[in-house]
């Protein structure tokens, strides 16, 4: 009898597929890796061979240089790639550009690794596609019932309302450099903000990469050139670490905003000195995590990282056997 743990099992390096001899998102250098998406804690340098989507490979090359891996292979969404006895398919995860779930099939057994995912519409990436399987291996970054992300359009409207209310101040929006920053820009465009958006230098390469992949971001300007007063009434997007940095002093009395799912908890916003928390996340919130389990009704739920115990308990209460893998190396307190 075939057991799921014969196909995928947790190891210190990450989730290991023995019959295909590869790891999913390994945190240490390995011979063969399948990478779900380009965030640094999932996509590390130094592997022998990497299988990922084209945008994810591009992001890794942008981050680590073109020689980040000895052999790379791009797979289109839905394409079946054989790894020894195992058929691997990458399916959209809706997290960031190029993000994928990893579906592995072997001897009639299907297991789905969600990677990081969300279920909401995102103008910068393909939407999550549910895939049924015996085992669903989920993330749980926001796996507590307190995490309920509101409609992102309403959060963007709150930002624009504040810009109208404080025309003499700059609005400095902290956003994770890969994915979040581009999504905020795209959402602002959809809400009708046509003026140039000013961006921190650390975002420029990834913005250009998104644009090469066909994501329209509208006019962007470096946030370095203009005089201090010229930023009044403008929106500036920067990595979260710069919000309280000396870098922010170049703007007139900035309203500090931070786009993150963690902003749902007021103490988090206060601790970081955030004046305008924008609850916008690229991860599934509690309702999306539980709703997805309910929709897929897998034979078993495994949970890779995040707040495993609450999601596991919810699943057990709803008749889905659950198991926390407690994988380490994925940043729980990341800026997303």
């Amino acid at each position: 009898m075939i057991r799921p743990q014969d196909l995928l099992c947790p190891k210190p390096e990450g989730l290991y597929c023995a019959p295909g001899d590869f790891y999913v998102d390994p945190v240490r250098p390995v011979a063969r890796a399948v990478i779900t998406h380009g965030h640094g804690d999932h996509a590390r340098a130094g592997h022998g061979a990497v299988l990922a989507t084209e945008p994810t490979l591009d992001i890794m090359a942008e981050r680590y240089g073109p020689g980040f891996v000895e052999a790379k292979q791009a797979a289109a969404y839905g394409e079946i790639v054989d790894r020894d006895e195992v058929a691997v398919t990458l399916v959209p995860a809706g997290h960031v550009l190029g993000s994928a779930q990893v579906v592995v099939r072997w001897k009639g057994l299907t297991m789905v690794v969600s990677g990081d995912y969300k279920r909401r519409r995102d103008p910068t990436c393909a939407p999550f596609e549910p895939v049924a399987g015996e085992v669903f291996i989920s993330e749980a970054t926001f796996g507590l019932p307190v995490f309920r992300h509101p409609d992102d359009r309403e959060e963007i409207a709150r930002l624009l309302r504040s810009v109208a209310q404080f025309p003499e101040r700059a609005h400095l929006v902290g956003a994770y450099a890969l994915g979040k920053a581009q999504r905020i820009v795209a959402l602002l465009r959809e809400a009708g903000w046509e003026k140039p958006i000013y961006v921190h230098g650390a975002l420029e390469r990834l913005n250009a990469l998104y644009q090469r992949h066909g994501v329209d971001l509208g006019p962007l300007e470096p946030a370095t050139t203009a005089a201090k007063k010229a930023f009044a009434g403008e929106i500036v997007i920067a990595p979260p670490s710069t919000l309280q940095d000396r870098w922010s002093r170049r703007f007139p009395d900035p309203v500090t905003a931070f786009a993150s799912g963690w902003m749902r908890v007021r103490a988090r916003a206060k601790q970081r000195g955030v004046e305008l928390p924008l609850i916008i996340s690229d991860h599934a919130d509690w309702d999306e995590l539980t709703g997805t389990v309910d929709e897929l009704r897998p034979g078993e739920l495994w949970i890779t990282h995040g707040r495993e115990e609450a999601l596991a308990r919810w699943a057990e209460l709803h008749g889905v056997p659950a198991r926390a893998l407690a994988l380490v190396g994925y940043e729980e307190e990341e800026d997303d």
Binding site: R266, A267, E275
Partner: protein
């Protein structure tokens, strides 16, 4: 620069805002959320002013009343809501959530399960009027129904804050009124002066601010005049720049600040916030036989062999918070007003005269009343600041021994509402100090919800079995810096002995534990505390990382302090 309703500043780029218009609790919730995260005073003014401009009556009036603390419904405690939420979701999942967030109301607001198809969302006026009309058991059902109907956690959070009547969003009533003044381009002092003639939802106020009607009248006889308050003096800075010849000094009495009014036949006694306490002090209210308004300190005063003396604050507490009084109580605890200032004499408003002139009139006015229930707070003559400092440290015999400190008032100061900078200073006596041992720590609220920031501390006493044991004597949650809070929080987590919900008991033994130097303003006997004493206004003055708990103070030290306070 009054503006008509509905007009907006021309240059503003205001996006269509789905969901914001028409749903009043949502706009109010957004206002509270932003106020609580905004430090700048000007930004707070903008937020409140814009809200008042864009929100229709009566919702904006109820919001203003909430911000100024003038809502009158019976406040509901958030504890019942925990049971209600546990009926709606798995208690274990709730507990993990509460443990993570740290604040009950916020946790409930976040986890409350949606009920699709529940009632439509209530407006702010509906909520406030509903709470005013409801009996206590009805309140719970109302709140649960509204929570079911609300879509966004921010709205549920605002409702749970509103229900307690304590918004705690870092906005003073004064600033809220200033925002209303800005809306109409009027002087904030005009609104302050008018305030106690107004009632929520203030439709007449907004009509005037928007130029649609005349100014509401403040001339109802017997009304409260907003009090003038003093700033704390900064010894290091102020004495160098102030000239002692410009200031009068008097004792700051340890009672409660009041205003005694007799006007067109109406007699009233108000607290300094305008609460009418006439019914609790009929003996005092009747003492003013001439018409006029005096500002003074309400005290229990007894006549004895050495003349009239002031009793302790604990005696005054026997009379406070009682709805009605009888002859026995007034005889046992005879109250009176020690007059500081005169606001009106007959029908004449004298607040724009100088303090020197008001004081001259006050002395004659008090003398004419000839009442045992009103006397004059004496001025304390002095030449130099050093002389006054010596008097403050060692007050002369008699009542000054129990004074809280010294007040300084500029001779030329007019009587201004609020806490203006410069004319009046308070210079409190140095606090009492003891070394006490940290016994229990509790999680804080809001910004501190992830920290153990509320501390119960104790001193050594002989237990029933004859052994030396700690007995709790007070609780403090401020007096330390953010960095010190982090250090204490770490200490609490590393030295936890037991956990009870949000409270941890902390290791406290003669050779292991943490000693606080605790400052406090006074002591009184208390039947509710195991130690028998209660501190007034305790706070952490220093953290004694260096001191072994065994060397902290004994209960006997506090008892000696108490005897001294009572004896003098």
């Amino acid at each position: 620069m009054r503006r008509l309703r509905g007009m907006r500043p021309e240059s503003a780029w205001i996006p269509a805002f789905a969901g914001m218009s028409g749903i009043d609790v949502r706009a109010f919730a957004e206002l509270l959320d932003r106020l609580s995260l905004t430090a700048s005073r000007n930004a707070k003014l903008t937020l409140v002013r814009d809200y008042l401009r864009e929100t229709p009556d009566p919702d904006r009036g109820w919001a203003l009343a909430a911000l100024t603390g003038d809502l009158t419904f019976q406040a509901a405690k958030p504890t019942f809501i925990r049971k209600a939420v546990e009926e709606r979701m798995d208690p274990q999942l709730f507990w993990w959530s509460y443990d993570y967030v740290g604040d009950l109301a916020e946790t409930v607001a976040l986890v409350w399960p949606r009920r699709p198809g529940a009632n439509r969302e209530p407006g702010l006026a509906e909520v406030v009027e509903g709470l005013q009309a409801a009996s206590r058991p009805e309140v719970q059902r109302l709140i649960e129904g509204w929570l079911d109907a609300m879509e966004e956690p921010r709205e549920r959070w605002a409702l749970l804050k509103l229900m307690t009547r304590e918004l705690r969003v870092g906005l003073t009533a004064r600033l809220a009124k200033r925002a209303a003044a800005e809306l109409g381009g009027v002087d904030p002092a005009e609104i302050e002066d008018l305030w106690h003639a107004l009632h929520p939802p203030y439709e007449d106020l907004f009509a005037w601010l928007e130029g649609r009607s005349e100014k509401p009248s403040a001339d109802n006889p017997g009304r409260f005049r907003p009090a003038m308050l003093a700033q704390a003096i900064d010894e290091a800075v102020d004495f160098a720049r102030l000239d002692p010849a410009d200031y009068a000094a008097e004792w700051k009495w340890d009672g409660i600040r009041v205003q005694l009014v007799h006007e067109a036949g109406v007699r009233r006694l108000y607290t300094r916030t305008g609460d009418d306490i006439s019914r609790t002090f009929p003996d005092v209210v009747d003492a003013l036989f001439e018409e006029g308004v005096i500002d003074g300190e309400l005290l229990v005063m007894r006549d004895g062999p050495n003349g009239r003396t002031v009793a302790s604050f604990a005696d005054l507490q026997q009379r406070l918070n009682r709805k009605s009084v009888d002859a026995k109580l007034t005889a046992a605890y005879p109250a009176g007003v020690r007059a500081y200032d005169l606001l009106a004499e007959g029908r004449e408003d004298v607040r724009t005269l100088s303090f020197a002139e008001r004081r001259r009139r006050l002395e004659r006015f008090v003398a004419r009343q000839g009442s045992a229930r009103i006397d004059l707070s004496p001025l304390q003559p002095f030449e130099a600041w050093a002389e006054l400092a010596a008097l403050r440290a060692q007050p002369p015999p008699g009542d000054p021994q129990v004074a809280e400190g010294i007040m300084l008032k500029r001779w030329d100061s007019i009587y201004e509402a609020g806490r203006p900078k410069g004319p009046w200073f308070k210079w409190k006596r140095d606090p009492f100090l003891v070394d006490a041992v940290l016994m229990y720590a509790q999680r804080g609220h809001g910004k501190r919800s992830s920290f153990y920031s509320d501390y119960t501390f104790g001193v050594w006493a002989e237990a029933d079995d004859g052994r030396r044991a700690l007995t709790p004597v007070g609780k403090a949650y401020f007096g330390f810096t953010d960095e010190e809070l982090r250090q204490i929080d770490k200490f609490v987590r590393d030295n936890t002995v037991e956990r009870f919900g949000p409270v941890r008991s902390v290791r406290a033994e003669p050779h292991a534990g943490l000693v606080f130097e605790v400052a406090f303003e006074g002591l009184q006997r208390s039947g509710r505390h195991r130690s028998g004493v209660a501190m007034r206004f305790p706070r952490i003055s220093r953290i004694r990382w260096d001191k072994p708990p065994g060397e902290a103070d004994e209960l006997a030290t506090l008892e000696r302090m108490l005897a001294q306070m009572e004896g003098r």
